[in-house]
Amino acid sequence: MQPQFILRLSSPPVFFQMTGKALPWLIGASLILGAIGLWSALFVTPTDAQQGEVYRVLYVHVPTAWMSMLLYVVASLYAGLHLVFRTSVSAVMMRAMLPTGAWMTLLALVTGSLWGKPTWGTYWIWDARLTFELLLLFIYLGLIAVASLIDDERKTDQLLSVFTLVGLVNIPLIYFSVVFWNTLHQGASLSMSGGSKMAPIMKATLFVCVLAMWLGCAALAMARARWQLVDRERDSAWTGSVLA
């Protein structure tokens, strides 16, 4: 990707125009992949030998748990970019990730809890992975509160960037919690280094569900960022045609 293209994207009118074109494609692809993933998860994949039918919660739980972490990492990337370049686009993208990330974290906790009851015998346990995921939810909520409490947008952006980067330390703790500690939560089913314990059809379905959710989350964050950008640039000439 050309550096010129990335620089152009940091221009608010270019960002607004390009994301406006990308959004229908993202939403369409997310809906189509979501429908395929759901159909395959419910009707194509075989029943798990140990857990029975309830293992199908995996196709919702794993994508939401991954999104909760990925959205935070992306928000941190924009926080780092904002501290260096101080652009409006990096600030709104960082802010736009937070509500969707919080929703994904809550969803991961709730679906995990519903899955935990039939498999572990309990809805909740203070297991390392669950505890750090709950901490992630509190971090998201804290950042959203900071974003909305202070009136001065520029000061808030800087403060929010620093806080977001500090909170990033929680992500490796979540990811490696099943390695560092003895946890009730199972280890990674998919690993980049080793082989997978999952059947190929289950793995393919999981990837489709993850992709659908990633596209959906990207669309939501992008849509939110566009209007936050218009709101903070309302006095600029380029917003005239948008707000007319």
Binding site: E53, T111, P118
Partner: protein, 46 residues
């Protein structure tokens, strides 16, 4: 709760969360457009 009910609740919660998030964005967009038009009668702007 049966396995089918658990799966159904999880899938419905996912759709609900996406719908709420999308609705909140549309609501914010509407408020921004109303503020821009300076319509004092819109309750969202108050």
């Amino acid at each position: 709760m049966s396995a089918t009910a658990t799966i159904a609740v999880c899938v419905m919660l996912t759709f609900l969360v996406f719908a709420i998030d999308a609705w909140s964005i549309l609501r914010a967009r509407r408020a921004i457009l109303y503020v821009a038009m300076q319509d004092p009668l819109d309750p969202d702007v108050q």
